[in-house]
């Protein structure tokens, strides 16, 4: 089954890179939606069903941890795996993300293989390789 992915990052450059990297993973991805912050992400999720969210942490307006908390608190979204992709490697932010229910995290800078490895672990049943 093809999956839909939402990429959330205030950097358009990172969103473009992730678009390319996701297409390179060889996984069955149907659509990659984009949002510039947590608030935009919630707007996208209101109108699109997605199977995975890849989110930065440090963003204006609503950051990645706030977005994660919002998703896990909402009945219709709490099942969606959320992987944080961030420069934040400190225990405080990463620990908070795990406590809030993040499915994993990838440190920036990242390689395509690191992204793929994380996706396989999370979406393996839904995405035949």
């Amino acid at each position: 089954m093809d999956s839909d992915v939402l990429v959330v990052d205030d950097s358009a450059a990172i969103r473009k890179i992730l678009q390319r990297v996701l297409r390179q993973t060889g996984m069955a991805i149907r659509a990659v939606y984009e949002a510039g912050d947590g608030e935009e992400a919630l707007t996208v999720l209101d109108t699109h069903k997605v199977d995975l969210v890849l989110s930065d942490i440090n963003m204006p307006r609503m950051d990645g941890l706030q977005l994660l908390a919002s998703l896990k608190a909402a009945e219709q979204w709490r099942h969606i795996p959320v992987v944080m992709i961030t420069t934040e490697g400190g225990e405080a932010k990463v620990g908070e993300a795990v406590r809030l229910g993040a499915a994993g995290y990838v440190r920036k800078p990242f390689t395509a293989d690191q992204i793929k490895e994380k996706l396989v672990g999370i979406l393996e049943p839904a995405i035949p390789l």
Partner: protein
């Protein structure tokens, strides 16, 4: 290891890691120095990010417009000939990754630190000053005929949680 040596080593690791991973470019170690004086007027692209916590200050990455376009082209894998949004955004993200990784290493020595959202300046004949701090650790990374400049200034804060400006203080002349 003193903090200055730690920051210098950390910048070197971070820059080489970011360039290797995101651009596929192997940079040699940066040439370190410490600057105490008011910065000279700049031309080109400069990206800043604020650091806050028990130590606070600013990290910056700067280069010529030509190098900024090349970095953008390598990162996005699309040829860029003008100083457009993609170029400025790429420099901002590069700064976020470089200084963000330095911040993560420093946290092991000085405790939790926070990062601001990056700000990018592009223009001619502009000066920058970080309020309250005059000593910058500077590393110059030669890349073919260009140079990438990475600067960090950090100072201990008496009250770690106190809100104060950590972003570039003033810009002496407007960006063109």
């Amino acid at each position: 290891m003193n903090l200055q040596a730690l920051i210098t080593a950390s910048i070197n690791r971070s820059v080489t890691n970011v360039f290797s991973t995101m651009l596929g470019v192997e940079l040699g170690p940066g040439i370190p120095s410490v600057e105490h004086t008011t910065p000279e007027a700049n031309d080109g692209v400069m990206s800043f990010i604020g650091v806050a916590g028990s130590w606070a200050g600013t990290g910056s990455v700067s280069c010529s417009p030509a190098l900024a376009r090349r970095i953008c082209s390598e990162m996005l894998m699309s040829h860029t000939t003008s100083m457009n949004e993609d170029v400025l955004d790429t420099l901002a993200e590069l700064t976020n990754m470089i200084i963000g990784n330095v911040k993560t290493e420093l946290e092991q020595e000085v405790g939790p630190l926070g990062l601001s959202i990056p700000t990018v300046v592009f223009g001619r004949n502009f000066r920058t000053k970080s309020a309250g701090t005059s000593e910058w650790i500077v590393l110059r990374f030669p890349w073919e005929d260009e140079v990438l400049l990475v600067k960090v200034c950090l100072a201990p804060q008496e009250k770690p949680a106190r809100a104060r400006s950590h972003m570039p203080g003033q810009i002496g002349a407007p960006a063109v």
